[in-house]
């Protein structure tokens, strides 16, 4: 009998115009959504459960984020997670990748799952690093960007693309794996599941509840100090053609290419 934890993040909606705050960090205000890459991690957990590849009792979604981030958990649960955990605490504000990974690892320890799944990247942070930090704090093996997973007993055979081509790696459970978006096609939640999501257990924790060392999180506890932001050197804006009349559009493209002697 096994348990899978899926780490999910709430990120600004793709349509929101994003900006950087005075502190050099992303301003995360505005409409938010579940990190789209994390739906692949949830789907991977469900497929392991449904295929019987692993005897999964429970899929638990966990997030670290400000109040409001439970919306991402509702989405995760509507997609099929059984319950969820939200760590929210003012002391967490300004946590860097290592601090966030530390807090997530502490939450994972409370659940002692057999497998932890993550998305390939957060749409806002884009560090592709949280999984490796969580694995390190747990002392478990970890791999990122996995696009194929086969489980045999407590051995996972994973495939992923690295810098020299595709690698096949065997990992002993418990392990921490981030999955690439090519691993599956996430399902859409049913209306019933969306309506029922709020009824599934959602546990809210503070860092004290979770036994997290306050000195290792938040802006103070973070060792990567983000400073001010600056503008990169200005680059000439490109030409944009909105295709309304394809014949005309193509004429414009050809003229543009011809001017630059590219044909």
């Amino acid at each position: 009998m096994t348990k899978i934890v899926v780490l999910v993040k709430e990120v600004p909606d793709a349509a929101v115009q994003k900006k950087v705050g005075a502190d050099g960090r992303l301003d995360r205000s505005g409409e938010k959504t579940l990190n789209p890459f994390d739906t692949h991690a949830i789907e991977a957990a469900l497929q392991l459960k449904e295929s019987g590849a692993l005897q999964v009792d429970e899929v638990v979604a966990i997030t670290v984020g400000p109040a409001g981030a439970e919306k991402a958990l509702h989405k995760a649960v509507s997609l099929g997670a059984d319950r969820s955990i939200h760590l929210a605490d003012d002391a967490l504000a300004g946590s860097d990748v290592v601090a966030t990974g530390y807090a997530l690892a502490e939450l994972v320890k409370r659940e002692s799952p057999d497998l932890v799944l993550l998305g390939q990247q957060s749409d806002d942070g884009q560090s592709y690093a949280v999984g490796a930090v969580v694995a390190e704090y747990l002392g478990w093996p970890g791999l990122t960007q996995v696009i194929k997973l086969d489980v045999d007993g407590t051995t996972v055979t994973a495939e992923r693309q690295a810098e020299y081509g595709y690698d096949t790696v065997k990992v002993e459970l418990p392990a921490v794996l981030s999955v690439g978006d090519a691993i599956n096609e996430p399902r859409y939640p049913s209306l019933k599941a969306i309506m029922g999501a709020k009824k599934k257990p959602l546990e809210k924790l503070t860092i004290a509840d979770a036994g997290i060392d306050a000195s290792k999180v938040g802006a103070e506890g973070s060792k990567a100090k983000w400073q001010s932001a600056k503008e990169p050197p200005a680059k000439a804006a490109g030409t944009i053609i909105e295709d309304e009349d394809t014949a005309k559009t193509v004429e414009q493209i050809v003229a543009w290419l011809d001017e630059r002697k590219l044909i």
Partner: protein
């Protein structure tokens, strides 16, 4: 505390170009900090020649650790051991997938901080300051470290510079962690699909997930055919992972770096990990139906529309133009 550790990724007897760039950069920065750049190589078959050659890029030491290559955990074990035995304030990785994984693991183990996708590093007040482009590269944030700092470069950000001569290789023995014993590389660097060459093409038509299905790569092939000569077809990771196109034809972070005279993206969103492999193209044209796609931020000519309607017509028009 002013030496800098560098991890040198290698495969089949060659050190990764991005690692060489990291060595050169670290050696310059360490000089400004009054220290040295020391390079760690992890693998079971690294020759003296290969390891010692890091000296020719500015490294003062080559430290060889005999442990499995291709996964992050042994690299973390090796770097943490070396860092613990000496005076090191920073570690620099040349990017690549292992760089992110090992860099993050090392930062966590040493209780330090990590900065990824770094395009530049300078010394300021005796400390490193790393530049991180954010928001589709429209802003650059600066990151400093309080404690051990791990810098992971963006692909191609650090140029290898030859300086100095080969150094003697020191073997370092490292006790591997439990986690390292639980990861085994079965096969490494498998080349899926045909051995296509995209690096010599002057015109590259790149197909992304927006093509919809593998058969639609014919739209890209036909357009390349219309350009004739040295025009070729390439792909994004999404298309390659889906099995639509050979890995050898992939552009980006874990694929090839190209700089053709003309790059045309068909249904390519322009993710950072793709952009880093093609941003040096002379002219970038994108056809994408989503006006908010990141590729429009750096395309010289952006066409907002359906590639299925536009591409065949464009192919015909170019053929007609060429006569």
């Amino acid at each position: 505390m002013s030496n800098i550790l560098v991890y040198a990724l290698h495969h089949e007897g060659a050190i990764n170009k991005n690692s060489l760039g990291a060595i050169s950069t670290a050696s310059k920065l360490a000089g400004e900090l009054g220290g040295e750049a020391h390079v760690v190589l992890v693998g079971e078959d690294i020759s003296d020649d290969v390891a010692g050659s890091v000296g020719t890029y500015g490294a003062a030491k080559a430290l060889r650790v005999n442990a499995p290559a291709g996964v992050a955990q042994p690299v973390v074990d090796a770097l943490a051991k070396v860092a613990g035995d000496g005076d090191y304030a920073y570690a620099i990785f040349g990017g690549g997938l292992l760089g992110f994984e090992a860099g993050a693991g090392l930062a966590a183990r040493l209780g330090g901080g990590i900065a990824v996708e770094i395009t530049d590093v300078r010394v300021d007040g005796g400390q490193l300051v790393a530049e991180r482009p954010v928001l589709g590269d429209s802003q650059i944030s600066e990151i400093k470290f309080d404690g051990f700092g791990v810098v992971v470069a963006r692909l191609n950000a650090f140029e290898p510079v030859q300086s100095g001569s080969a150094v003697a290789v020191e073997d370092v023995s490292v006790d591997l962690s439990d986690a390292s014993g639980k990861v085994t590389v079965v096969t490494r660097g498998e080349q899926r699909g045909a051995d296509v060459n995209i690096e010599d093409a002057q015109v590259l038509i790149t197909g992304g997930r927006g093509l919809g299905k593998p058969e639609n790569f014919s739209l890209a092939e036909d357009l390349a055919g219309a350009f004739g000569g040295s025009a070729g077809v390439a792909a994004t990771r999404a298309a390659v992972d889906a099995g639509w196109f050979p890995y050898a034809g992939q552009i980006g972070q874990t694929g090839k770096t190209v700089a053709p005279k003309l790059y045309v993206g068909l249904g390519v969103s322009g993710a950072i990990q793709h952009k880093v492999g093609m941003q040096s193209s002379d002219a970038i044209v994108a056809i994408n139906k989503d006006a908010n796609a990141p590729i429009f931020e750096f395309a010289d000519l952006g066409v907002v529309g359906d590639l299925h309607a536009i591409t065949p017509a464009l192919t015909e028009a170019i053929k007609a133009k060429k006569g």
